[in-house]
Amino acid sequence: MIAQYVTDSAEAVQASGTPEPKSIWIHGSITYVSTGTDYVAPTPEVLPE
């Protein structure tokens, strides 16, 4: 699920602080929090060939 919040709002802070795996994207005044199947794990480093 991808939820949308006003950046820095109490709801955004609460959603960002939950312990479940999540991706947080602060896009200016809009913050997106992705959980569940929408969570994307960090990409490992790929060294140049």
Binding site: G28, S29, E45, V46, E49
Partner: protein
């Protein structure tokens, strides 16, 4: 031909003399008035709201002037795209740095700060930095509203933040303001950099249909990152697709070029700088078509950093070219 519009400028459209077609004017954010033609012979007039677009058909503007006035300028500048498209034209380019600030200390109530980890250069000519609001996580200091603020550094760690703030959610092309303006009101205390969070640093709108059915979007960018063992991720998105996504550790910076090609009117394959095809003539383990996006609609080109709090990532400059076909 494209014409780069600065905020509040008058543009000599006589350079378009002989070009037939439609003059498109687009605004990434804020409000602007656009007038085409001389005062005595006004051939077009429009007021554009944020993310609006207008056009002036025909060649009547060929000997006129475009008068651009901007009622607010916290966001990006506008640009003009005449069609029919020429073989290659630039879309946007800038060299004002924008970065994700690392953990820091707010030294007073008027925006003076000290970074926990030094930048590589002294950004004495200014830099846009993203700070969180006071009260966020462990931030005991900072501005009332988080955002990307104009700052001028006096050393690699000490800087002054100003109230001038930009919002990538409505478009932001980094620019150097004529004047820095009022100091930023802050609460003294600690600044927590949003650890492990994607932060949009710049947002440019690619005009609807600019690529054509077989066109290419080419981006050149240079990132500076703290040279350390911890990961700093930089990304470039186009609409809902990620063109480039690369963590960096023990490097000081990276020059990146990305290409995205339309293969049908609405679909792209893109070649990014990672996935083993960073070099000229590189290979990939899979099929190249990795994304779909309807480019007949305007799409945002986003530049994103994700750091760890201790380190910083700075987008030093970028150039986005559209090669229509």
């Amino acid at each position: 031909m494209d014409i780069q519009l600065n905020s509040s400028s008058i543009v000599d459209l006589r350079a378009l003399s002989g070009v037939t077609g439609t003059l498109y004017v687009k605004r990434d954010g804020g409000t602007q008035e656009v007038r085409v033609g001389s005062a005595a012979n006004l051939v077009g007039y429009s007021t554009l709201q944020s993310r609006a677009e207008t056009s002036f058909a025909g060649a009547a503007y060929a000997l006129g002037w475009g008068v651009l006035s901007v009622s607010d300028r916290p966001y990006s500048d506008g640009f003009v795209l005449p069609v029919p498209a020429l073989p290659t034209y630039g879309m946007r380019k800038w060299s004002t740095p924008v970065g994700h600030a690392c953990n820091a200390t707010w030294n007073n109530t008027t925006g003076a700060f000290t970074l926990a980890t030094a930048f590589q250069p002294v950004y004495s000519q200014g830099i846009w930095l993203r700070f969180t609001a006071v009260g966020q996580s462990t931030s005991t200091g900072g501005p009332a509203v988080g955002g990307i603020y104009w700052c001028v550094m006096s050393s690699t760690t000490v800087g002054q933040a100003y109230a001038l703030r930009s919002d990538p959610a409505v478009g932001f092309c980094p620019y150097t303001p004529d004047i820095s303006g009022a100091l930023l009101s802050t609460v003294a205390g600690t600044h927590w950099a949003a650890t492990g969070t994607d932060i949009t640093l710049a947002s440019i709108s690619c005009p609807a249909g600019a690529l054509g059915s077989q066109g290419t979007l080419r981006t050149e960018m240079y990132w500076s990152v703290t040279n350390s063992a911890t990961s700093k991720i930089v990304k470039q998105n186009f609409g809902g697709n990620t063109l480039f996504n690369q963590p960096y550790t023990t490097v000081g910076g990276a020059r990146v070029q990305t290409l995205m090609h339309n293969v049908q009117s609405k679909y792209q394959k893109y070649i990014a700088g990672n996935a083993g095809i960073a070099g000229v003539g590189g290979t990939t383990s899979g099929y190249l078509i990795n994304g779909t996006e309807d480019t007949t609609l305007a799409r945002d080109v986003l530049f994103i950093a994700n750091t760890n709090g201790v380190d910083s990532a700075v987008l030093e400059f970028a150039a986005i070219e559209v090669l229509p076909a």
